[in-house]
């Protein structure tokens, strides 16, 4: 029988150790899977996790892959810290892409100086718009935000599918479900790093993502807004006692998460696709949840977590080409990594011991 006693104090070493152990266990598990499938375990791990980042330009691509994850996860951290379970970032991301796409397609002649900020604002509004549905329903009717935001994800995916197959389809696309290409002013450009040149697809959106995550870390740890969010998540009653408005916080964190996801959608389309298509997101909204957890709900940690998860994604692509492995193997890694992290969280919070037959331990205090 497992006995779990809450820890009164969580040492910092444990906080850092847990994700590390989770990653190591995931790698071991991965090696086992590769072995079972008849591949050399070490060789496969190399192909999966080292080979994809062995050249400078590949490092650039890693950051590009991590970019939408970092932006989206930064927003989600605020939600999860406030104990608001927004799992619909995928849909909010799609709506950010749609709103900014509308700007890009409607005003192709605007210069970048005006079009780019307009698209950024539009994407944030789009994400917030989609996040407000579960937020307002929760505040007004106390509906479950998990289920509502999840349902809306599918509605969003169907909505963009309809747009690009129907009203927004480029007549010149030969029947492909694609919009017109964005004008050059609507595209996010690659970075020409001094003395180094282009690093793969590394673009300015990545810089924005890093700044956003660090700024998010500052807001959460050093401002009254972050404090309110943490208090509401940890002890809502204490938050009301302090004079914080729980409904405002719920709406606020949903807006932050929705806005961030929307922005990620805009960055992804403007930097990597150049036009809207049915799949503007490849599950980034869901993967960002893993990133947020891997980062232990710390925005700065999101940067590292985003890179690690992006590496798993790139590794999947690489293993497909190099080893002929199905790309979905990445899913196995992501799933196992999340399992390990969640288990690690439990080991962090509780002192766990194995106790001999004690079938009916009490659940209440003392």
């Amino acid at each position: 029988m497992i006995s779990m006693i809450p820890r009164k104090h969580i040492p910092l070493s444990l906080t850092l150790l847990t994700p590390t152990i989770a990653i190591i266990l995931t790698l071991l598990f991965g090696a086992g899977i590769f072995g079972l499938l008849g591949f050399s375990p070490l060789g496969s791990l190399y192909t999966f996790f080292v080979a994809p980042i062995s050249r400078p330009d590949q490092i650039g691509d890693l950051f590009v892959k991590a970019c939408p994850l970092i932006i989206t996860a930064t927003g989600l951290v605020f939600c999860f810290r406030a104990n608001v379970w927004n799992i619909g970032a995928e849909g909010q991301l799609v709506f950010g892409a749609i709103f900014s796409g509308w700007m890009a397609l409607s005003f192709p002649h605007w210069p970048a100086m005006t079009l780019m900020p307009a698209m950024i604002v539009a994407s944030i509004i789009g994400g917030i718009f989609w996040a407000m549905i579960p937020a307002l329903l929760k505040v007004r009717f106390n509906t479950n935000e998990i289920l509502v935001s999840l349902m809306l994800t599918y509605v969003a995916a169907l909505f963009i599918d309809w747009l690009v197959r129907g009203p927004w389809r480029d007549p010149m696309s030969f029947g492909f479900p694609l919009t017109k290409m964005y004008s050059d002013a609507a595209l996010i450009h690659r970075i020409d790093v001094p003395f180094v040149g282009m690093l793969g697809q590394l673009h300015w959106g990545v810089v924005g993502a890093l700044i956003l995550a660090i700024f998010g870390g500052f807001v959460l740890s050093r401002t009254i807004l972050g404090f309110q969010i943490k208090v509401m998540g940890d002890a809502p009653r204490a938050g009301r006692f302090a004079g914080f408005n729980p409904n405002l916080i719920t709406i606020g964190v949903m807006a932050i998460a929705g806005g961030a996801a929307g922005l990620a959608g805009m960055v992804e389309v403007s930097a990597s696709m150049g036009q809207l298509q049915p799949n503007v997101s490849f599950g980034y909204g869901f993967t960002a949840i893993i990133v947020a957890f891997l980062a232990r709900l710390n925005p700065v940690g999101v940067i590292f977590a985003g890179l690690i998860v992006a590496l798993a994604e790139l590794g999947g692509d690489h293993a497909q080409i190099a080893l002929g492995m199905p790309k979905v193997v990445t899913g196995v890694f992501k799933g196992v990594l999340l399992f390990m992290l969640l288990a690690g969280e439990t080991f962090n919070r509780y002192h766990i011991t194995w106790r001999h037959p004690a079938p009916m331990p009490g659940s209440r205090e003392q």
Binding site: R222, D234, R240, F241, G243, M360, R364
Partner: protein, 528 residues
């Protein structure tokens, strides 16, 4: 430490006996070598302060916890009680302080879950009806729990126990949710049980009840058994001293100030029930003067939580003019604005209400200071300032810290309470609203906290203290009102009142309001 000398000769064989029970949680010893016996037909009290280890012991007896050391005997035979099912099979029934009921299910379904399988719901329902008639505790078997009052829910718990025909009935603080009348009804039911040969183990810290109901008491203090005594013929003071260990120190009441001005005024506050378990507040009026401690007595569940929420601003009336601070209308202000206006609040529950356990003391200092000048600039926190504030509170209010800026959860109850009290008093609020200031803290901390409130009043602030502890009310309050079923009695001067009169009012006996009313229109200093 058990005293076996009180074993009654007429019953050589105890029904239930515990020998040397020890139970640890981490490094905290909840039960330390506790020994205990109960005989058939006996109503036996288990007495102790909050946190003395009563609940742990009871859970061990009912099989919910396993002792680390020690043995249990049932009718003289060594038993190990592996779970509640086995406890019930032996003949131990238990009524929990927190009900173990299922809101969504019917009364009959709730009871069926505690009975052995095989009986149909129809036959069970008729048995429920007949037993509830027998003992005069009526309840509809088809009703769903969420539609029942707290008192009715307790009846369901009791009937559920009775149907199992137990030989030992354990009642864990059953009267904390009852009025004195309901308590008296419960006592007569329990006495009838004892006459029928049942043993009752009655857990409480209310001394009057224990003396009225039980014949013997086992007293626990900090997890240890400090003795089993006969309760008849003992004074509350004797029992209290056993329970808390030290001589019960009286804090001397201060002189009430003469001709002081009104600092805090509530007029005609009403609040509808928020849910089935809540109490509606009706026409609440409070007038607290500078330098005065205004005591609000009452049994738990008579609207204390609702009143506290209304006074802190966590719940707000939509009507202006109901609550005034030194003449300024603050009725529609929230907690933060009320603090800016010069109020301080100390709610009853430390963990998760007054403080966030998972956060540091610096963060907890911020909790009630964020709207005031000094710790937040342009939305950005001054971490150094917050730490300094927490350190100052700790230094001035004798909060013992295991490390600099620890998590609130790592402090003991008494230390955390001193912090929560200090956090408000250090600001010298003009009006301090406090609920159960010394609930579950050790005697030393309680004396310290009461003195701190008196010092605040001496500086010219008004203190409104909601407390269920009559001793505390009489020790420091200048004027006293009683909250019963959401209604306040008229205020009376503490010097004119006796505990008996207030006790009657706490039970809802309105015939005595006139005794209080005499004092209500008199300025607080007039009687002194």
């Amino acid at each position: 430490m058990s005293q076996k000398s009180n074993a009654r000769g007429s019953h050589p064989q105890p029904l239930f006996e515990a020998v040397g029970i020890t139970k640890q949680f981490g490094d905290f010893t909840a039960n330390d070598d506790v020994s205990f016996r109960i005989y058939p037909e006996e109503i036996h009290a288990l007495l102790g302060e909050n946190g003395a280890g009563k609940s742990t012991f009871v859970k061990i007896a009912y099989g919910l916890l396993q002792p680390d050391k020690g043995s249990l005997f049932w009718n003289g035979e060594l038993v190990s009680i592996r779970g509640p099912k086995q406890a019930r099979q032996l003949g131990i029934g238990m009524v929990f302080q927190h009900f173990s009921l299922f809101d969504a299910l019917t009364v009959a379904e709730n009871i069926q879950l505690a009975m052995p399988a095989g009986e149909s719901i129809t036959s069970l329902s008729s048995r429920i009806s007949s037993i509830s008639r027998d003992y005069g505790i009526e309840v509809d078997p088809a009703a769903r729990i969420y539609n029942l009052s707290v008192g009715q829910q307790q009846r369901v718990e009791i009937i559920r126990c009775l149907l199992q025909e137990p030989k030992l009935l354990i009642m864990d603080e059953p009267t904390s949710v009852l009025t004195p009348q309901e308590t008296e009804q419960l006592f007569s039911v329990l006495r009838r049980f004892a006459e029928n040969g049942l043993a009752v183990l009655f857990i409480s810290h209310k001394l009057d009840e224990i003396r009225a109901l039980t014949s013997r008491a086992t007293v626990l203090r900090r997890g240890k058994n400090v003795g089993s005594v006969t309760t008849k013929g003992r004074s509350n003071r004797e029992l209290a001293e056993m329970m808390i260990g030290a001589k019960v120190k009286d804090v001397a009441r201060q002189q009430a100030p003469a001709d002081a001005k009104v600092l805090f005024e509530v007029k005609g506050l009403n609040r509808a029930k928020a849910n089935a378990f809540a109490v509606a507040l009706r026409n609440i009026s409070i007038t607290a003067h500078a330098g005065e401690i205004f005591g609000i007595a009452g049994i738990a569940g008579n609207g204390q939580d609702e009143l506290m929420a209304a006074l802190t601003g966590e719940w707000r009336t939509e009507k202006p003019g109901v609550i005034k601070l030194d003449g300024t209308d603050i009725s529609i202000s929230g907690p933060a604005e009320r603090r800016v206006a010069g109020m301080g609040f100390i709610p009853e529950e430390r963990n998760g209400h007054a403080a966030v356990p998972s956060m540091s003391l610096a963060d907890n200092a911020l909790l009630t200071n964020h709207s005031l000048a000094g710790v937040v600039r342009g939305g950005v926190l001054d971490l150094v300032g917050m730490r300094a504030k927490a350190a100052a509170i700790a230094a001035n209010f004798d909060v013992r810290l295991p490390e600099p800026n620890p998590l609130a959860s790592s402090l003991s109850g008494g230390n955390l309470q001193k912090f929560v009290v200090g956090r408000e008093i250090i600001k010298v609020p003009r009006v301090l609203i406090v609920s159960q200031p010394t609930w579950g803290v050790d005697v030393g901390a309680a004396v310290f906290i009461r003195k701190a409130m008196q010092e605040l009043a001496a500086k010219g602030s008004a203190v409104v203290m909601i407390s269920q502890d009559l001793e505390e009310i009489f020790a420091i309050a200048h004027r006293i009102v009683v909250l019963h079923n959401g209604v306040l009695s008229p205020a009376g001067s503490a010097t004119d009142l006796t505990a008996e009169k207030v006790g009657l009012l706490m039970g809802g006996d309105t015939a005595h309001t006139s005794d209080l009313a005499g004092g209500s229109d008199v300025a607080p200093g007039a009687s002194a």
